[in-house]
């Protein structure tokens, strides 16, 4: 199981602040594509991704047991 933490606008677009996914091993890019597919209104293009509290690249893999945070940069000040 992969735990996904959602921040900022993703919470509203996906309708939750956390997901538990039963995906097998996949890359960060693939995870984003699957989510985009399952939640068409979510804006995942500019999202930063952390896997287990470490900045992750699109090509990094995500395994069962990992915690993935999807962090859209917010710009207000």
């Amino acid at each position: 199981m992969i735990t996904v933490l959602l921040f900022a606008h993703l919470q509203e677009e996906i309708g939750a602040d956390r997901l538990e996914l039963e995906y097998g091993e996949l890359t960060v890019q693939e995870l984003k594509e699957k989510l985009q597919n399952d939640y068409p209104s979510s804006r995942l293009e500019s999202v930063m991704v952390a896997v287990n509290e470490e900045y992750a690249l699109d090509s990094d893999s995500v395994h069962s047991g990992d915690t993935v945070a999807l962090i859209p940069p917010v710009s207000g000040g």
């Binding site: 500019s46 710009s75 207000g76 000040g77």
Partner: protein, 336 residues
């Protein structure tokens, strides 16, 4: 020593020695909205030597809910934020030097003000300005502290040239479209939480306790009770155009700067921006703000008494004003 800073000197990692260092430092705060006013108050109270505040805006009624230095009188008199802030800050601490500039931050306007600045605190409301600042700080090799917030979510990260990844590394390849306070709102504790992180990092830098720096990016959500830190080492990119081996500082180039022009007789201002914005994403987002129309070439939205049209080449037309300042403000309220 006076009693004024005694509680700060009693704090062991600062001490009298740290306080002396602090009293020699000059900090520039870019933006004097919610993050800027609270950061300015913190540094004025801490007793740095000199504070420079830059903001293009004046106090409005809707600012009062979260912008710490301002009163109803400032709003009624439409005092520029930098000026209102300076007045209040000098009443708080008359012993520090404060310079207030009412101006739109650009490469040209900022660089001369950064000469003897030790640290910049980010309190701006848009990523155009942040990416320009990022290039400038890499070029001048000075540290700055990124901060941003919206709703109950905020983030902060300390950027040290030659040491940490820069903002460009982190955001590279991603078209930026940050949510803004004008589209999804903001609560005051979110501001305080970002400022607490920025201020703690600022104090560490000012007293030169580099070991204590956070090194991680913090993101939190106060309403959903999240606090997330992210190790950023892997974000560093050798080919980064800002902090890489062959930096080009592209946001300092004239052709990459955001440009504005008044379209004569049309009550319209045009803004040209090289930043790529996804039309699909923009349209999705603007639906929360006002009535949106969209076709293959543009997205248009009705916002207050304005109509704003975004084109795929990065241009935007703000209909309903002849003021460049007003137009930029609306533009960044919508695009972030």
């Amino acid at each position: 020593m006076t009693d004024r800073y005694s509680r700060q000197e009693l704090f062991k990692p600062i001490g009298k020695h740290g306080q002396q260092k602090m009293e020699a430092k000059h900090v520039l705060i870019l933006g004097c909205g919610a993050l800027g006013s609270a950061n300015a108050e913190g540094l004025a109270r801490a007793g740095i030597r000199k504070l420079t505040i830059i903001d293009r805006d004046y106090v409005e009624q809707s600012n009062l809910q979260r912008q710490q230095l301002f009163t109803e009188q400032d709003w009624l008199e439409q005092i520029p934020k930098a000026v209102a802030a300076k007045t209040r800050l000098q009443a708080i601490n008359s012993t520090i030097k404060i310079e207030a500039y009412v101006l739109d931050a650009s490469y040209a306007s900022l660089e001369p003000l950064l000469k003897d600045v030790d640290l910049v605190i980010d309190a701006t409301d848009n990523f155009d300005t942040r990416l320009m600042m990022n290039d400038l700080m890499q070029k001048l090799e000075k540290p700055w502290i990124f901060g941003s917030c919206v709703g109950s979510t905020g983030m902060s990260y300390t950027i040290l040239p030659n040491v940490t990844p820069c903002l460009q590394c982190i955001l590279d390849a991603t078209p930026i479209s940050g949510a803004t306070c004008d589209s999804v709102g903001i609560i005051y504790p979110t501001v305080q939480m970002v400022v607490a992180h920025q201020q703690a990092e600022a104090l560490k830098l000012l007293v030169e306790d580099f070991q204590a720096l956070r090194t991680k990016m913090v993101t939190f959500d106060l309403w959903n009770n999240y606090y997330h830190t992210m190790n950023m080492e892997r974000a560093k990119k050798n080919e980064c155009p800002s902090c890489g081996e062959n930096p080009t500082y592209r946001y300092l180039d004239y052709e990459n700067q955001t440009k504005t022009e008044i379209l004569c007789g049309r009550n319209t201002v045009q803004i040209r921006n090289k930043r790529h914005v996804s039309m699909v994403e923009l349209a999705k987002r603007l639906t929360s703000v006002g009535k949106v129309k969209q076709n293959d070439f543009l997205v248009s939205v009705e916002y207050d008494s304005y109509r704003v049209v975004f084109f795929q080449d990065g241009r935007a037309l703000i209909h309903g004003t002849n003021s460049i300042d007003a137009a930029k403000k609306i533009y960044y309220q919508l695009t972030g």
